[in-house]
Amino acid sequence: MVKINKDICMLCGGCASVCPFNCITVTEREVIIENCRECGTCEKFCPVGAIE
């Protein structure tokens, strides 16, 4: 499962809109990932490189 570096994440919500499996929810204070299939799409999107 991909990991979010909370110190870097801006909570912009973009990763949730590109995940092909609808695994990501970005709330006003955290990124929740469920059932990740490790496709790497969200990581490629992130404007600040918060996803590892």
Partner: protein, 388 residues
């Protein structure tokens, strides 16, 4: 709780939907403070307020814009000021925090029940309507309604919970990053820097906000590069133009550049604004389309509730109306974006050279594109889809 209409997301789309509804409406947003954080460069054209029929408050507007400057990869600047453009129009850089909150306030004053810090979790259909579950502080609340309007922005979770696929491929999203900066010299102009050196698949913008401050930001298409939006913008900041600049705020976000969802309605459901991917794919501007689609959805919802008809057939009127307003335009800009993304930096420089003497009737993106096509016959094969 029981309501006629449930609107999710109090961005421009959701607040305009609530303002235009004349029924028992609830508007929820996951944010504790509507409009915060800002995820926007805040540029709009002057026509916005007339179009939505709302008089702007002073605090919604940061700066009046007199012209646009386009800058090519090698640094050729095309100033589209009143010397070049006959019927020059102006624009505004908004204060989105005040604008978004202001629209939500109007909705609340018109009778909408406004619920901040209330996050949509999921929806299900009931016999003749919908029921949503939402998290408000540590409590899960249920709201029953007849119609749901999804205005939850780029994440578009509401539509997904109805089984609609709103996933954006990496080629059709802009990965965005922005600094609000002060202590820089500005003109009353928006500056757009095009080319892969600055921003693959997008552009860098400088939108003035005050006497000496501006939103300096970038959008890139992530499928075109390994680097981050932040890396490109940090490089851009090294230039002379911004050397003394101080960062006062940092923003990030995503812009859909895919052209709208094919179907923006279903039984009991309408989808507006970014959630329906209604953004100008060339400029990334989505405030106008969010406001207009929201307004239309609010009106259609009111009619449906009066007639007690929440069927997909009745709500299809929504799609017909927004398509009339801006459907063709977004399609055209989608094509233009497909072309722009394929142009090399050398071609962009050539285009900039050809535009140095340009004289235009008005400053619509369409006019500029047509001028480009006219003056660059050698590029015609790449540009031909834009000649309508």
């Amino acid at each position: 709780m029981k309501k006629d209409l449930i609107v999710i997301g109090a961005g421009p789309a959701g607040s305009m939907a609530a303002i235009n509804s004349k029924c028992d409406t609830v508007l929820i947003d996951q944010r504790a403070e509507i409009g915060v954080p800002k995820q926007c460069a805040e540029g709009v054209s002057e026509s916005l307020f007339k179009k939505i029929g709302i008089k702007p408050k002073k605090e919604w507007i940061s700066k009046k814009i007199k012209y646009t400057s386009l800058i090519s990869p090698s640094g050729i600047e095309i100033k589209l000021d009143d010397k070049r453009v006959k019927k020059a129009k102006f624009g505004f850089v908004l204060n989105r925090k005040n604008f978004d909150k202001g629209l939500a306030e109007i909705a609340a004053n018109n009778g909408t029940e406004l619920m901040p810090k209330t996050r949509f979790i999921k929806a299900e259909r009931t016999e003749n309507g919908v029921k949503i579950y939402a998290k408000r502080f540590n409590e899960t609340i249920e709201i029953e309604g007849r119609i749901l309007i999804a205005c939850d922005g780029v994440q578009s979770k509401v539509a997904k919970s109805f089984g609609l696929n709103t996933t954006l491929p990496l080629r059709y999203i802009e990965s965005c990053y922005q600094y609000e900066m002060t202590n820089i010299e500005i003109e009353p102009a928006v500056e757009l820097y095009f080319g892969r050196v600055y921003a693959p698949g997008g552009y860098v913008w400088i939108f003035p906000k005050g006497e000496n401050s501006a939103n300096v930001g970038i959008g890139i298409v992530p499928s075109l590069t390994e680097k981050r939006a932040k890396d490109y913008l940090d490089d851009f900041l090294k230039r002379e133009r911004l050397k003394g600049g101080k960062i006062v705020e940092i923003n990030a976000g995503a812009v859909p550049i895919s052209t709208p969802l094919e179907k923006t309605y279903a039984d009991n459901l309408m989808i507006c604004g970014d959630a329906a991917r209604m953004v100008n794919p060339l400029t990334g501007g989505g405030i106008h389309t969010a406001c207009i689609s929201g307004s239309i959805a609010g009106k259609i919802a009111t009619k449906a509730i009066e007639k007690e008809d929440y069927s997909e057939k009745f709500l299809s009127e929504y799609q017909k109306l927004w398509k009339n307003e801006f459907g063709k335009e977004l399609e055209y800009y989608g094509k233009a974006q497909e072309v722009l993304i394929k142009l090399t930096d050398a071609e962009l420089d050539k285009i900039a050279e050809s535009l140095q003497e340009i004289k235009l009737e008005s400053i619509s993106t369409m006019e500029i594109l047509k001028a480009i096509v006219k003056m660059n016959p050698k590029l015609l094969w790449k540009l031909k889809s834009l000649i309508t």
